[in-house]
Symmetry: C2
Subunit: 255 residues, 2 copies
Amino acid sequence: MPHEPADLDTVLGKAVTILRAFTVDDQVLSLAELVRRTGLPKATAHRVAGDLVTNRLLDRTNLGYRLSGGLFELGMRASVERSLLELAMPFLQDLYERTHETVHLGVREGHDVVYVAKIGGHRQAKSPSRPGGRMPVHCTAIGKILLAFSDPEVQQEVLSSPLQRRTPHTIVAPGLLERQLGAAVENGVAFEREESAPGLQCIAAPILTDGDRALAAISVTGPVGRFRPEAYVTQVRAAAQGLSSLASRRRSLSS
Amino acid sequence: MPHEPADLDTVLGKAVTILRAFTVDDQVLSLAELVRRTGLPKATAHRVAGDLVTNRLLDRTNLGYRLSGGLFELGMRASVERSLLELAMPFLQDLYERTHETVHLGVREGHDVVYVAKIGGHRQAKSPSRPGGRMPVHCTAIGKILLAFSDPEVQQEVLSSPLQRRTPHTIVAPGLLERQLGAAVENGVAFEREESAPGLQCIAAPILTDGDRALAAISVTGPVGRFRPEAYVTQVRAAAQGLSSLASRRRSLSS
DNA sequence: GTAGGCGTCCCGCTGACCGGTACGGTGATC
DNA sequence: GATCACCGTACCGGTCAGCGGGACGCCTAC
């Protein structure tokens, strides 16, 4: 629950509350389920959901509601993520072709990393990440490298809040995490060894702004066994640097 | 303007009107520009846009408003598109690796094709398509194959409405288009030869449901000259068929 | 039969939303 | 440096869109 809940006293608030009631793995939600998750009165949820359908943000199926294609379309127009994606695609492609392992592109949002893209082949390592999904920063390579190149106050905020355990290898000691962040800044890459999911390893490198802040990061993920993250240091770093210089040439500033 | 405009007499309608005022190539829109595009009173636009910001659907920058990362995240959760994307990625990847040309995944929405994914390398043909963007069905290979495997009434609707010319090669004669659709059903693939943009050729194949309706389609695009679409018939068709059978095994129905 | 869960609809109250209007800042033009 | 055009922001009283408790009919399970 990373965000303050939307204002339920306003139509718009109710609407986004309903929309955000959907998680990455929900296909379709019934009205009753929406009521349960949002806490809205049934009649209200029914009406607002109906309005969302007429506005083509939700689809009505015989089983319930689901997020519509119109919403997908809208989301893809978010300039930052979309232009990042377009710019990055060739680099991600290269990286995939060289490694044939799962390649991620992600940005930081609060204490989470949001995956903007995930590309992989038929034999990809089965990872819990989904495009558009979230993972905590502290337990993924991509999250750690994003955090390492974030403002100090953000870093402190994460380090001083409880670090949730996801696997036996998840780093939950702030001191250890802090040292890893230092090493990540040093090396320009971060690693993950079964910290988010058992059997998975990962290496990530940052896409940097002129001010040495991470705009996004890319990673390569593979299964323990055939995959040795150290083997890809050069390639991941090269891709990230190429992307960094390309991105800094095109302006797309922040808030 | 493919859709009836949203209801401007409701908060939600105003909100989505503002959101949809953004096109694929807009990075940031000023309040004044929003007012111009939406036709809303300035005060109203200001307030609603502000509400959208507090609800994290818009970002406020020093230059104006822009669609937020939260919206991107939400859009990526649209079940149909997202699961399609996840399912398709390995196939698209394969296809790219074999051809090293731009690969598209798209669905039909009304008279347009909406691109769900676009992957390409550094040397990709410069095409007007964007992920999340739209193109008319009648002037793209992917659009034609989608139309060919759509309900007859949809086909008739497109054929009987004016076919806009985009290049000297765009097919604007309904009869010719209809014949091509027939051929497309016959062959299981559709072609495009500089019909949407000069210098571009394209070949597409459908992802079919059990009922022989197109759920989506994939295409390979390349520049006139080095690229001969006929050379890829087998590969594109194979990828599409593989994807079809995989998709029909996993249920994710329509309305 | 009955009980619980579901989606839908009704309808009178009310406060969220509306937008005309006004104000301060900023850049171009003369 | 005066004028003007255009911008973003803020105010505020009227009113109607939105609200949600409640009732209803339909299922499936027990």
